[in-house]
Symmetry: C3
Subunit: 390 residues, 3 copies
Amino acid sequence: MKKTLVAIAALAATSAFAQSSVTAYGVLDTAYYTAETKTATVKTKYAGLTNSTLAGSRLGFKGTEDMGNGLKANFVAEMSLNAIGDQFGSKSDGAGAPAGNKTTDGTVAATFNRQTWVGLSSAKAGEVRIGYQNTLQYDHNAPFSAGFEGAAGAREHLEVLTGASLGGITNAETNRATGVTYFAPEMGGVKLAAQWGALKANQTTLKDNAAGADYRASHSSLSAMYTNGPLTAGAAIGQSSLQANAAGQLFWQGTKVDTTSYSLGASYDLKVAKLFAYYGERETENGTAAKDVNVKVYRLGAQVPMGAVTLFGSMGQLTGDEGTTKVSDRKTTQIGALYAFSKRTRGFAMWGNDKADTALAGFSATAAGLSAAAAPTSTSTMRVGVSHSF
Amino acid sequence: MKKTLVAIAALAATSAFAQSSVTAYGVLDTAYYTAETKTATVKTKYAGLTNSTLAGSRLGFKGTEDMGNGLKANFVAEMSLNAIGDQFGSKSDGAGAPAGNKTTDGTVAATFNRQTWVGLSSAKAGEVRIGYQNTLQYDHNAPFSAGFEGAAGAREHLEVLTGASLGGITNAETNRATGVTYFAPEMGGVKLAAQWGALKANQTTLKDNAAGADYRASHSSLSAMYTNGPLTAGAAIGQSSLQANAAGQLFWQGTKVDTTSYSLGASYDLKVAKLFAYYGERETENGTAAKDVNVKVYRLGAQVPMGAVTLFGSMGQLTGDEGTTKVSDRKTTQIGALYAFSKRTRGFAMWGNDKADTALAGFSATAAGLSAAAAPTSTSTMRVGVSHSF
Amino acid sequence: MKKTLVAIAALAATSAFAQSSVTAYGVLDTAYYTAETKTATVKTKYAGLTNSTLAGSRLGFKGTEDMGNGLKANFVAEMSLNAIGDQFGSKSDGAGAPAGNKTTDGTVAATFNRQTWVGLSSAKAGEVRIGYQNTLQYDHNAPFSAGFEGAAGAREHLEVLTGASLGGITNAETNRATGVTYFAPEMGGVKLAAQWGALKANQTTLKDNAAGADYRASHSSLSAMYTNGPLTAGAAIGQSSLQANAAGQLFWQGTKVDTTSYSLGASYDLKVAKLFAYYGERETENGTAAKDVNVKVYRLGAQVPMGAVTLFGSMGQLTGDEGTTKVSDRKTTQIGALYAFSKRTRGFAMWGNDKADTALAGFSATAAGLSAAAAPTSTSTMRVGVSHSF
């Protein structure tokens, strides 16, 4: 005992206490994978090591300051990690392209690209966060999946997200955005949240500005989550708006783009199995009615715990219409097993298939905020690996 | 008590003690802003979220090793954080340009771009730091301002810094540099410091080297700070020298550039108000006397504490002469209020104006180390936000 | 005592315990240097501050989770630090080129570019690591040198490494790779390890793929280390293989490249001096026998402890043959002294010379995986600095 106390006195004398307000945390998730991609005439095989199957590998720093009277100041700064050097497989199996965060000796970059925000919270009045953070749609959608993001058949291929990446003036599927978020205190098992972000730049008033230089952008969303015993249910609605004076720069047509999305999800824990369901719609108005794009998504799945092993399966479909023409049809399946070495460390093996059909020539899937796989493609992948939280 | 000690014994058994030599720290500072920029014919408005108003958002790691006999080894590694994705406003209100450290999923980069140094310190002999660190001019100037950096009307627009960014062979206003710094032990309320950095590269001796390939660069500076009760006063002097054999590469004329700067500052705490004053000059010799550039700066301000609220106001002027011709005249004003939620967390609201007038056609403000606003411009900005230290 | 316990109770109440699973650590190593490079007709001098002499400056995060039954989960995420802004000297004295990790306000990037892996370990069954990590050759070679990496005359110039940078599809000397490594439990003073990595990408089967798009790559290696009192001895063998369908993209000739390397090392501690020896060979087969490249390396050295001071000297030679023609001859020498301020902090002064002779016109030293100094060059350097571990 005496020795322990001496050691503690020594600790107290260092600057370590100053660090008590910062917690380092993260995830490292690696796997071996094989993948096979088939298009009309070509079959391509890939194999190697890959990153971020169960969860995105990351390193973060967070802290909370208790300021008295129930008031707290909070922050998070969190970046992606890639345990696999570029060209050794990225999050998207079947792609030889480098991942965003390379670990080679190259020139590119670990950034605090997951979340960087600061805010205030109060037990009575709720919490406000300002900065770069998860969208409400993303936080809403994630719990309602039996499967995982990082493989063919991934959950994320079948989500409806409000295009929140307004900073980059794109409307692709995005799960993080710059903005202000308010989380209300939980009331009767219900959690409500609202998020808003806006950008008005180069709003020149005294003369016509050069094409492309002006734009306004905003996004706003609401989410509700209800938990009661084995049941969790939620709904989210979001809208984003982009306006520029340059045709072609933002979208394939028009200069004003409004996107509205709705999503509903539920999970129910039967003990012998946990069931998951998700449905969502997103409509993008491009000023020309015939070219509006409407996306519908559903997803169903189950997780079956068997001691340290959990089996899971998830399937779903995404369809996209441009005006009255069907332009995208995507079906995904994912099955697998998790093994819990501990609460923080899991092994996994899974198989997934992603079959994307884009029939309309000239249709820009990317511009419509759909998946990047514009050509009819079937990708099957197998992943075996380990995911560790710290 | 018993439980606490058990918990401590558990802590002692982990690797946490190994970390007692490293402290994580930082700042997250975000705000909503509106800005309006007026030039001769154009008025442009901006609005959105922005970063680093009261202090630069950052994440750092530091540590001290006590080596006995009063000798210590110290290090700092500190990077900028941007809580606001690029194009959602950067440190310079009114600019849509991306900030240096993006938080989007893009390709660029959080670097230890604020400070990265290692050194030794002794209670008797003082401290030496080697690496990338604040210039003495910057550390000298910062305390003598009632206002803040991150907005129009900013303190940093009215500082005289020796161009220390010799690594990049530019002479712009710079507040960090690679070098060796010596801090003498405090004597009678006086702190003295000296800083030196140098680079001789490609000093080819056996033949004429290709134009632009050879250069020598050095910077050196001294600072003194005196504190006595309510009074703090300081002086700093610095010199930098750049030599290259390529005209046009470094400056608009000539190949040898010497820059000398002087600055004086004082603050006095009257309890009901704290007063601030700063004056500085910088002269850049370009080999052709008529083209020497002389910059003069003054800045005055006050902070008035009223319980948890502190009101502040700061104003100043920068004038630049090229030979005998006046080439730059810049006036800034900043007023606002701080609210202390705690010692570490502050809310703020402020308004600032920056009116820059550059009359001479063809004059390169940037090359002269003046502000980047080369055209006559008036920018007004409003910021409301929160700044949290951890 | 009471005060200490109160402080500890306060610590226990914070989130600091959550951090007990993560340890921050690193090295900051800076020096002043002068260097002189001589080629046939040109002598060039350099001077300035430089980074990473005794050890690579770095910041890392690591952790271990004890999962019971002797099973642990482990991770490391480690990045390079550069305490010296770019153009103020990089790891390679005599080069004005920017280092990989800039500390200036520029656009490039601190990445977790040293190691990022996760794994499981067991006292009985050994350890597995998956991700980006040191090659076995690198871990094998490092202990068998009396000198250091970061200067002319550097150890690393005289190492034989299996080209493991398969991600980048180059075969240059590389000390880190993506792969899976198995470390067997120590048995009778012997440590065995095996490493494997592979990549099969774009292995198109249904039609001829475009030139350059297909490739397969793999590396595998074994190492053994034996320690018995004053003696440490080791051996490592490795092989890498690259296959592409585009001539010229990977190597100067051919499309299939196999590289095999062997290395042997030993150190013996006589108390008054510690002796070091290393020998290695590497053979690269390029399909055309006459163009195979064979590299041979030896290195000898000693460290002499004298209280807090340690003197050291190291010398060696690398020769390269392309077919039957000698294409490279490189001799290095490094001598110096270390001063231990503490176990974690050392001062140092050293001198080194690197004389590289590459006689054959048109020979690509880089392509052959030899040093980048393709022209006959002699570089002498002096470094004085401090290296601090935390």
